[in-house]
Amino acid sequence: MSEEKKYVLVEHEKPWRYEEEGYTVTRGSAWTGPGCHLGCGVLMYTNDEGKLVKVEGDPENPFNKGRLCVRCLDLPEVTNSDKRLLYPMKRDKDKRGKNEFERISWDEALDDIEAKFNEIADSSGPESIVFLQGTGRDIASWISRLAWSFGSPNYGFPLSGLACYLPRVSGMMSTTGSFWVCDCSQQFVDRYDNEQYEVPEVMILWGNNPLISNSDGFFGHWVTDLMKRGMKIITVDPRMTWLGRRAEVNLAIRPGTDAALALGMLNVIINEELYDKEFVDKWCYGFDELCKRVQEYPVEKVANICWLEAEDIRMAARAFGNAKNGCIQWGLAVDMVREALPAIQAIAAIYQICGYIEKPGCMIAPPEILFYGGGFGSDLLTPEQEAKRIGLQKYPLLHHGFATLQADEMMAQMETADPYAIKGAWLQTTNTIACMGADPKRFYNAARNLDIVVCIDLFMTPTIMALADYVLPAATFPERDGIRVGDGPQRGETINKCTSVGECRSDMEINLELGRRFNPSAWPWKDVQEMFSAVYDGTGYDFKGMREIAPAYPQFSYDRHAKGMLRQDGQPGFNTPTGRIELWATQYANADLDPLPYFGEPDPGPTSTPELLNEYPLILTTGARNWGMFHSEHRNIPRLRAMRPDPIIEVHPEAASEYGLKDGDWVWVENQRGRAKRKVQITTVLLNSKYCSTDHAWWYPEGDPEKLFDVFDLNINNSVPWVPGKSGFGSNYKCMLVKLYKVKDGE
């Protein structure tokens, strides 16, 4: 993009490193591991032995202004945990699943992996090794470059329908040319006091509880900051949350019906002429077609679909449409339904036709230093190799957004070897069989047949115990240098090493070391600091220079679409085929998809498969976040585990009474595909007696390693199939039909 690379600096008293009464204090960005989607400013205290003893929020960092959540406060317990992986290990392939790892040196590990990967590349082609990551750790830029420099186009996420963030990114990139975030003044060093800034009149929180979920570059408590400054909120959530309690209206939607709700709200906003006609005329494409489509979704019909009151839908649509400015903070729930893409398109159309784009307190395209999901080294791949990317032919929208494989196709290809066999896996930052993988046993069975599996992580996990032939120990963020080029508006902000643990190395050190063995010209840097400086090329700073002045904010102005700042060619408009925001999506039509938003019933579901309701009467949503845990992490950290000792399923009092369940009972949560063990918590936060909600990503680090830490008894994804939406994006992780029954003694 043609954003001018000028930076606004934050005045701060403290240098990046200073002494304070016997401690060394290192200022920096709190970015991973352990996982997170933010990057708060922190002060890391180390003692005279170089041990991390305390982490505080940095009051001089505008992002979090000294505030911090429990996971960073408790970071010393993570970094110094006696459960950390401390050195490289190997295990014979025929001993997968046995707790029989053997310590080896870094040289031996890297020599072996290099030799075995090259052997596979020679015999089967580099595309037969997949490079997979989890989420939230600083990895996408580095693992994708590793894959591409090795010659494999198969970098990705082992998540059905890539159903986390990527559907939203791909959907937005293909219809608007950018991603969009709520303007909470996060792009300004002086934040809410900036003279250009205006507080949003209304924010819709859609399928997201940002206070807890630390979503994509969005510090959740900005919402309370803005509410104190007068912002009103509308929440879309099947559960009552602290925010929902304070909302103008909470729409307790039936899980998986988000597209219908958005189309119903569009129906109101269009038919009552609450949209911004000038903006639509000038900057949107396909409004008439959208107009026609929303007539198929009158509010009463939508209320019926979503199990809502029609008047509540109207109230929400009017409050948003009548506002002078507004924004929508959306969450994972919109990705985690099979037909996610049209839901995303419909939700985005609400703020698009209201003209809440590139104005203060509206939606803004986040300024970026590096597009980390495909911007660092995609040119290393030949067109011939790129064409072998798994799923690319079937799902052309993979050309937009993150340059990943399609995971459901990968899953099938691991089993069928069609069109070519998968021989090896590099699993870096992913605990696939405990967390994002659908049907974890299916992945497990297929991966056990691979010729080589390498895992890189902080702790022993069920995935490592089940599958790894080589294990490489990764560093937490106080143990490494880095740059914060992740989700949301990017800042020049460095991650600064202040301690060491065992022989752990950072993810990017590992990738640089191995990458230059495969392809020296693709990794010309002598160390990671030089590599980070290369990413900062064009900013006017190198890594060390940025470390001195960080945080540095790219200069920002509003109305960039009008100023020609959102298109590579410098013309006004948006980076789409028509140069406009496409309400009728050219790229969807080109991919033989419906170019307009529509609602697809969740399947199975109460409407699409009513015959299943006798056996499976409840609607389960999964993955609501807890304060102390990031996905499958933190179960082995005492202070954080104490906040959530058990995997919980929330059950409505009426349902509990109907099925004879008491608080604290252990139950199986089961559908036609599988089951998982949960402890019952009876609560009225569920706003319909048919709804239940449970934690995801459970395993017991204290359990038997050779029973894989009980992961197959605890993983709720036992119930989730590998079936994506028509576009290749979206999957039903958060809307399933289930039954509950008590666990028997000894189970």
């Binding site: 009464e21 429990v70 936060v685």
Partner: protein, 111 residues
């Protein structure tokens, strides 16, 4: 006699994030489950069609020293600094007493 200090909680804004508890545990190395401040939850229950009771309240324990050592260095008590909802205020009791009546749902701790 030295000026007495306290903490004012605007509990209408407490989101129950537990940062105050963890900040305190880590500042003093208290055992798991013990802290100078503990957050309690009240609700959720429905009051009427549109209204819910769902709030949190930090309560200070006998282990709280108001972070005297930090205060001596000009720093805020660790719970106050890290409060994500920014609903805790540290200051002299004399000043905070004046503020407590500025709006509803505030509570002042003299510690």
């Amino acid at each position: 006699m030295a000026e007495k200090s306290g903490i004012l909680i605007d509990y209408d804004w407490c989101t129950g994030c537990h940062s105050c508890e963890m900040a305190c545990q880590m500042e003093f190395g208290f055992p798991v489950g013990q802290s100078g401040v503990k957050v309690f939850q009240v609700g959720p229950w429905q009051i009427d069609e549109r209204k819910w009771q769902y709030s949190f309240m930090p309560v200070f324990t006998d282990m709280c020293t108001l972070c005297a050592e930090r205060a001596a260095k000009g720093k805020l008590p660790s719970c106050v600094q890290h409060c994500q909802a920014d609903c805790m205020k540290y200051g002299s009791l004399e000043d905070l007493v004046k503020e407590v009546s500025s709006h509803n749902k505030q509570v002042l701790y003299a510690i």
